[in-house]
Structures are given as structure tokens and as C-alpha cells.
């Protein structure tokens, strides 16, 4: 399909301001263009607010602060990117055990090419200015979480492209905590993280996203998993005017355990979108996807989850749920759980619910002396807690529990 003239113009405007980079990648992005408004994958998420931005290249900024960031009380190595640029001053790597590498990445680090993924992915491959390189060699169990901060101070179309590479060797262990925050409206962050989990490795990857409520965010995580790999990805999505998460998982070995666990709490004027495809390519793998959202005012959310069980992936056990709690009649959720099964003897379930606060539960709590606001918070917190409690890294879980509770108390006091 030929992209529209407007689309080509938007693509050119963007490429014109971004730093010189990989020519093939730029060509690939130009060829794909931004997704068209009738693109099925973007049916419920308007792309125009992004393509109409007055693009500029996001610039390095030494004045950035950690305000509003998560995980600042946790010890261990941290990589900091300000407006997409590696900040040596803010990053702290410290002494790492043999076999663990934590640094800013370079083009030669990437395994996935600009051919992988959609136009936004191609854009990161072609024009990224930095990103985390985190790896654990075979048999290295690194118990300390590695933190990655993406701080944004830009505004008015400031565009940052970042590219992350996380790799856990065979029998290794790795925990990565990401925090995305920003201070001004109208910047655009486009990130892509490739995540390789080798045979029998154990990886927990947590993305906390609380971008400015007027900012734009497209973030992809593409994960590949080997035999008996254990992988948990958590998406705690609070921020952004439009925040899109593209999650792709390839279960390439037998015996994989994969968990995708997400919570979205958009406020008024925000839209948070999770678009997930889990590919079961081998037999005897389990994947569980749990996504809960709480929406107030005119907030919107989109969930698309496809589990694709390829031929030969027999004995697959895949379970997907998407639950939404609407606090207002003006909030909107578009949810589309899908199963595509080409294998035998599989156990696959999916379900989506959209509901309001349960009056009987509220009354029961009030009939025990709790006021209505507290009762509502308790139920919201429980709903969010189902997701938060799956986080394995205890200090991160405890912090996010408090953070989510605080967020719920700020909104929804009606």
C-alpha cells in the first residue's frame, strides 16, 4: 500500500530533524510510513496527535531530576537517559560481578534489525541516540535489580528514540526496572527494547511509565525465550496523553513460563494502549497474560491481546484476562482478546470484562464503618493489587503498591 502524501510529508519532517543515522533503517521507516488511521492495529488509538507534532530532536539536558521517578530508594546499578541521551553524570554503574555488563549501547550491539517490528520500531533502529545494554553471561545469577531511567524534559514535539538490549544467558538471572517520567507536555518518546532470555534463564522486566499527561509514548518490548526460560514482564502504565505499548513474545523453546502482567490507570484526557502478541512456537509452554485497568472521567484504554499457538506447539497452556473497572460513564475501553490455535491438545482461555464499581461491595464495607471514599479506594486498590502483587522484586512491588494507592487516592474521589 502506498502511504498518503500527508504521511510522507510527516515522515520527511521527522527524519529531517533527527540525527544522521543508519540509512537502511531510515529507508525502511520511510517505506512503512506512520500507521494509517484505518490500520487495524491502530483502530482505537488515534495516531494523528503524534504525526502532527512539530518535531524537533530531543536534546541532552544536564538539569534533569529524578522527581516522580520510581525505584530511587533501591540500590544497585542504574543507567540514566535524558531525552534519549545517555547521561554519564546521572548514571551509576559501580562494581559489577564478572559476566554482568551494564552500559550505554551502540549500534553493533543490536541483534534485532530494523526489519523487526513496525514503523516505530524501524525508526528506533535507524535513529536511536542511546539506550540500555544489560546482559548477564551464562550461569550468572545477578540478584541486584538494574534500573533504567528515562527522564524527559523536552516539550513541543521533542522526539527521542531509544533502543534497549537486555540479554540473559543460559541459566542466568536478571532483573531490570525501567522508569519513564517527564516534566513537560508534547514530547514524544519512542522506545524499543529487545529482550533475549536464553535456556533456563530467569528474567523479570518491569516497566513503570508515568510520562507527563500531555506527552506521547510508544514503547515496544520484543522478547525471545529459549527452553525452560522463565520471563515476567510487568507494565505499570500511568502516564502519557497517548501511550502505546507493543509487546511481542516469541516462545522458541519448550517448557517456557512467560507472564505478561499489566496495569493501566489513565486519567482524564489520556489513552493507554497495550498491543500484545504472544507466539507459542514450541510444545509444553505456559504463557499467562493479566491486564487490569481502572479508568476515570473520559479516560480511554485499548487492549489487544493475541495468543498465537503455532503448528506443533502442542500442550500449550495459555491464559489471558483483561479486566476493566470504569469509575465514570464517560470512560471508554476497547478490548480485543484473541486466540489463534493451530496445534493440538492445548489449554487456552481468554476473557475480558468491563464493569463498574460493585455497589454491594461498597455497601458491605460501609456497613462495617468505613466511609464511602475509603470503601471505593479499597476496592480499586484490590483490583490494582491483583497485578502489583505478581511483581517478584519485593522492594519494587512495595513501592509500586504505595505509588498506585496514591494515584488512586488522587483521582476517583467521587
Amino acid at each position: 500500500m502506498v502511504a498518503s502524501a500527508q504521511n510522507c510529508e510527516d515522515v520527511d519532517r521527522l527524519l529531517a530533524v533527527l540525527p544522521e543515522s543508519d540509512a537502511a533503517g531510515r529507508a525502511r521507516f520511510a517505506e512503512l510510513g506512520f500507521p494509517a488511521s484505518h490500520d487495524e492495529d491502530w483502530r482505537f488509538t488515534p495516531i494523528k496527535p503524534i504525526t502532527e507534532l512539530d518535531f524537533t530532536a530531543a536534546e541532552a539536558d544536564v538539569s534533569a531530576s529524578f522527581e516522580g521517578c520510581a525505584f530511587t530508594e533501591i540500590d544497585g546499578p542504574r543507567l540514566v537517559f535524558v531525552n534519549g541521551h545517555f547521561s554519564e553524570g546521572l548514571s551509576q554503574i559501580g562494581n559489577l560481578p564478572a559476566g554482568v555488563e551494564v552500559r550505554n549501547l551502540t549500534a553493533s550491539d543490536l541483534l534485532m534489525s530494523h526489519e523487526t517490528g513496525d514503523a516505530f520500531a524501524a525508526l528506533t533502529a535507524a535513529t536511536f541516540t542511546g539506550g540500555p545494554f544489560i546482559s548477564a553471561a551464562d550461569n550468572v545469577e545477578f540478584e541486584i535489580p538494574v534500573r533504567v531511567y528515562y527522564l524527559s524534559t523536552g516539550s513541543e514535539g521533542a522526539t527521542a528514540n531509544v533502543r534497549g538490549y537486555i540479554s540473559a544467558g543460559a541459566n542466568s538471572k536478571l532483573t531490570v526496572l525501567e522508569s519513564w517520567t517527564g516534566t513537560q507536555a508534547d514530547y514524544f518518546n519512542n522506545g524499543f527494547t529487545e529482550l533475549h532470555v536464553a535456556d533456563n534463564a530467569h528474567v523479570e522486566h518491569l516497566k513503570f511509565q508515568d510520562e507527563h499527561a500531555g506527552a506521547f509514548h510508544v514503547g515496544a518490548v520484543h522478547a525471545t525465550m529459549g527452553r525452560d526460560a522463565h520471563m515476567a514482564h510487568h507494565s505499570i502504565a500511568l502516564g502519557g496523553r497517548i501511550a502505546r505499548n507493543n509487546l511481542r513474545a516469541h516462545l522458541n523453546g519448550t517448557g517456557v513460563e512467560a507472564v505478561f502482567n499489566g496495569l493501566y490507570l489513565p486519567r482524564t484526557g489520556q489513552l493507554i494502549d497495550h498491543h500484545m502478541v504472544v507466539n507459542h512456537a514450541q510444545p509444553y509452554c505456559n504463557s499467562h497474560e493479566y491486564f487490569n485497568g481502572i479508568l476515570d472521567d473520559d479516560a480511554r484504554a485499548v487492549f489487544h491481546g493475541r495468543i498465537h499457538v503455532h503448528k506443533g506447539a502442542d500442550k500449550t497452556d495459555a491464559k489471558q484476562t483483561n479486566k476493566n473497572l470504569l469509575l465514570s460513564d464517560n470512560a471508554t475501553v476497547n478490548t480485543k482478546p484473541q486466540l489463534e490455535i493451530y496445534a493440538d491438545d492445548v489449554k487456552c482461555t481468554h476473557g475480558a470484562t468491563i464493569g463498574h464499581m460493585n455497589d454491594e461491595q461498597i455497601f458491605y464495607l460501609r456497613a462495617r464503618g468505613l466511609n464511602e471514599v475509603t470503601a471505593r479506594h479499597m476496592i480499586m486498590h484490590a483490583f490494582a493489587g491483583e497485578i502489583v502483587e505478581r511483581i517478584e522484586c519485593i522492594p519494587a512491588r512495595e513501592e509500586l503498591d504505595l505509588l498506585v494507592w496514591k494515584r488512586l487516592e488522587e483521582g476517583g474521589d467521587k
Binding site: 455497601f363 464495607l365 456497613a367 462495617r368
Partner: protein, 250 residues
């Protein structure tokens, strides 16, 4: 303690309570019996402040206050308690956390300091023993996955923790085997004092062998059609509700 006068209430234009008069003094236990659908739970829910019922006439005076003017939680702060016929499951809300929040909400209202985790646990252990409840229930979500009997016992545990002045027990006996019934009745009896009162709603006479009432009222079609002593309950058990309805019709 509680004075209900000519209380009429209904839903969507349908009258369920048809002019109830009932007066309960401190130190008394009253029982309300009646066939299914006679309005027993509606009375309990209206007293507890459940929204959705239209109160079309009457008044409820509770220790000098207009009970119907208070929100559900305010009634609890003033010592009112309802043990639900159907306790609600609240997935994700931890039982201990919930109970402590409830106890502290009432304490706060009375200007008492909050119970910390340790202080609360001590209080709870006492009460839980009284009801022979398995402590592991407290680690679970509120009522979630509890058996029928566990739910009812958990209601009485909550009653014991909140130590109400006036408690309504809505069919707390249904779904209990005889041993559980004795435990629950024993728990309730231990909470009985000169300065509090209980209204026990039941379909069967059986419970009243263990929680012995001072007064028994029969509710039919939203009206108290007969009041008497505990012997009335025995008579109802023997002759059924049809007898009393027939007397009414005559």
C-alpha cells in the same frame, strides 16, 4: 434503644414493608420470624442504610437519633451492626486489613487512638478463639471462597470486634450445621450485655433454642402480625406459618 414506628418501605413503587412498629430496649433479645419473602431482610437492610429502598412513611429512633438520617457507616460508628444473610465477597481485600480498618474507623469516631497491627492481632486472637475460626481465613480475601458456615462465623467475628450496642442478625443460622450453630450462638450470647440489644432474624425456630429471645415477632407480608414470648416460636414450628396467615385472613 430502638423504636420503629409505622415503617413503610419499598422498591420501584412496590411496597415491601407495610407499616412496622417495633420497640426494643437495652438488655433485650428480640426475634423476628416469618416466611420467605415476608420482608425480613428488607427490614434489616433498611435499618443498615442500604440505598435503593424508598422509605415512604414512618420513623426509626435509635438512642435519640433519627437512624434513617445517618449514612451506613455513621450508624456503625453509633454502635449499629448488621450480620448479613449473604455476606459479600470482596476479592483482593485482605480480611485482616479490612477488619483492622473497620475497628479503627469506629475507634477514630470515638476519639480513641488507632490500634496498631500488634494490638489488633491480640484483640482478634481473643475473638477468633471464641468463634473457633481457623486463623488462616484471616489471610484470605474478605469472604472469598469461604464456605457458607465460615461466612456466617466471620460475620459474628466482625460483630465481636466492633462490639455493637445494637445488632441485627439476618438468618445467621441458615447454612450452619448444629455444631457450627452452637458455636455461633455461644459467640452471640457472650456478647450479650445489659446495655446492648439484639434482633435475631430467622426462618426456623432451631436457632432460638440457643439464642433465647425475650420477645418473638412474626412478620408476614411486611407486617408484624403477631408478637409474643419464646413459646410463640415453638408454636410456629409446630403449626407452620400457614396457621398464622389463616388467622390473619379470618
Amino acid at each position: 434503644m430502638l423504636e420503629i414506628k409505622n415503617l413503610e418501605a419499598g422498591v420501584d413503587g412496590k411496597t415491601i414493608l407495610n407499616g412496622i412498629d417495633l420497640s426494643i430496649n437495652a438488655g433485650e433479645v428480640h426475634a423476628i420470624m416469618g416466611p420467605n419473602g415476608s420482608g425480613k431482610s428488607t427490614l434489616a437492610q433498611v435499618l443498615a442504610g442500604r440505598e435503593g429502598y424508598d422509605i415512604t412513611a414512618g420513623s426509626v429512633n435509635y438512642n435519640g437519633q433519627d437512624l434513617l438520617e445517618l449514612g451506613p457507616e455513621e450508624r456503625v460508628h453509633e454502635g449499629f451492626f448488621l450480620a448479613f444473610q449473604y455476606p459479600v465477597e470482596i476479592p483482593g481485600v485482605n480480611t485482616t486489613y479490612f477488619l483492622r480498618a473497620a475497628v479503627n474507623a469506629v475507634r477514630e469516631h470515638h476519639g480513641k487512638e488507632e490500634l496498631d497491627a500488634v494490638g489488633f492481632l491480640k484483640l482478634m486472637r481473643e475473638k477468633i478463639e471464641l468463634l473457633e475460626l481457623d486463623e488462616s481465613l484471616l489471610k484470605r480475601s474478605v469472604n472469598e471462597g469461604f464456605s457458607g458456615g465460615e461466612k456466617k462465623r466471620a460475620e459474628i467475628l466482625q460483630m465481636a470486634l466492633l462490639d455493637p450496642k445494637f445488632a441485627v442478625l439476618d438468618e445467621t443460622d441458615s447454612g450452619l450445621d448444629i455444631d457450627a450453630l452452637k458455636i455461633v450462638a455461644n459467640g452471640v450470647n457472650q456478647l450479650r450485655r445489659k446495655d446492648n440489644a439484639q434482633l435475631v432474624i430467622t426462618h426456623y425456630q432451631r436457632l432460638l433454642d440457643y439464642i433465647v429471645p425475650d420477645h418473638v415477632h412474626v412478620l408476614v407480608d411486611g407486617r408484624i402480625v403477631k408478637s409474643g414470648t419464646k413459646e410463640l416460636a415453638l408454636e410456629l414450628e409446630e403449626r407452620g406459618y400457614d396457621w398464622i396467615t389463616a388467622v390473619q385472613a379470618a
